[in-house]
Amino acid sequence: MQTLSAKQYVDVLKSCGVRFFAGVPCSVMRGVLYHLEKDPSLTYVPAVREDAAVSMAAGAWLGGWKSMVLMQNSGIGTCLDVLISLNLTYKIPLLLFITWRGFEHTDEPQHWIWGDRGNGILGESGIPYSILSDNVVEETRRAITEMEERLEPRALILKRRTCIDEEI
């Protein structure tokens, strides 16, 4: 499988014009977060909750900036109302970057239920998602283009130890 370094992935996001980032950390994306925090040309806000991150990102988009929110899949539960009542109601695009904890129950048991149902909850809510693998660069570019064309939130799902290096 193609594996990008965290820095390469952040460069892909930059090349697509994404400038505003907010999120709640997950260890699976610590490398990506490190580069978002470090890069002076990007804005990364550590959000207190995932719904705060989604709302800030909506504000940033209304201000003309492409935006992305990062979280682990349990955060879907925290921000689902905002995704529905703000993003889907007004049709405000947003790139969601979500780590798939609990996938095949390979990590701690508290992640398993979200691991089994998180993607389904997104889909049922009307939020399209793609699972990142060999297609990571193309899929990210396509999601950014399509979210702007369709004016909708769009999720990218990242499994542990797959296509983006977890380390710095």
């Binding site: 207190v48 909750r49 003309g64 703000l86």
Partner: protein
């Protein structure tokens, strides 16, 4: 003090070329849209609790504008963590107004916890730069609004208001997609520095 008198004055004080107004859901958005609509108004129709976070995204991407969030007590109680995010980002151009009537007015005036929690004290402890609490006197509230608009933020103004609603105000008669498009276009427009 009547909430709608305060809302009317906030709209009057705002510079329609420079100042963005984000109105919390419920009676606040209803009364604002009814009193005076504008391209610089963002009416939050749902997503309760999120007005300051939408405002923060605006403030961070547009430091040349002033962002005024008109929040309610029930709204802010739902997302007190938002205060930490505002202070963390330290937006100089951010005024957070809370119209505190101590009830959930839109749903039948059930009591809120701002009876026992002083939200201005919470804002002060969170680290907002200037925090003012006004009650009883509309003239004093107007003066504080003028002062806070001129001072470097993030600033916080709590106005204790009556439970009275402006009668006959429907939900904003503007579709969500229209609110979005005209507000986004307005955000992208040039700021004319005509007024302080």
């Amino acid at each position: 003090m009547k909430r709608f008198d305060v809302i009317e004055h906030i709209i009057k004080m705002a510079d329609p070329s420079r100042d963005a107004l984000v109105f919390a859901n419920g009676r606040i958005s209803r009364e604002a849209c009814y009193l005076q609509d504008g391209d610089n108004h963002f009416y939050m129709l749902a997503s309760m609790g999120q007005a300051p976070m939408i405002g923060l995204g605006l403030a961070m991407t547009h430091p040349e504008r002033r962002i005024i969030v008109i929040d309610g007590d029930g709204n802010l109680l739902m997302s007190l963590g938002a205060l930490a995010n505002v202070v963390g980002a330290n937006p100089r151009n951010f005024l957070h107004i809370v119209l505190d009537n101590q009830v959930y007015g839109t749903t039948g005036s059930q009591q809120s916890l701002s009876r026992v929690v002083d939200l201005s004290a919470v804002a002060k402890a969170s680290g907002y730069r200037n925090v003012v609490r006004e009650q009883d006197d509309l003239a004093a509230a107007k003066k504080s609004l003028s002062t806070l608009l001129l001072r470097e933020g993030p600033n916080f103004l709590l106005v204790q208001v009556d439970q009275d609603d402006l009668q006959g105000t429907p939900p904003p008669q503007v579709e969500a997609s229209v609110i979005r498009d005209r507000f986004r276009a307005w955000m992208a427009s040039d700021v004319k520095q005509e007024r302080a």
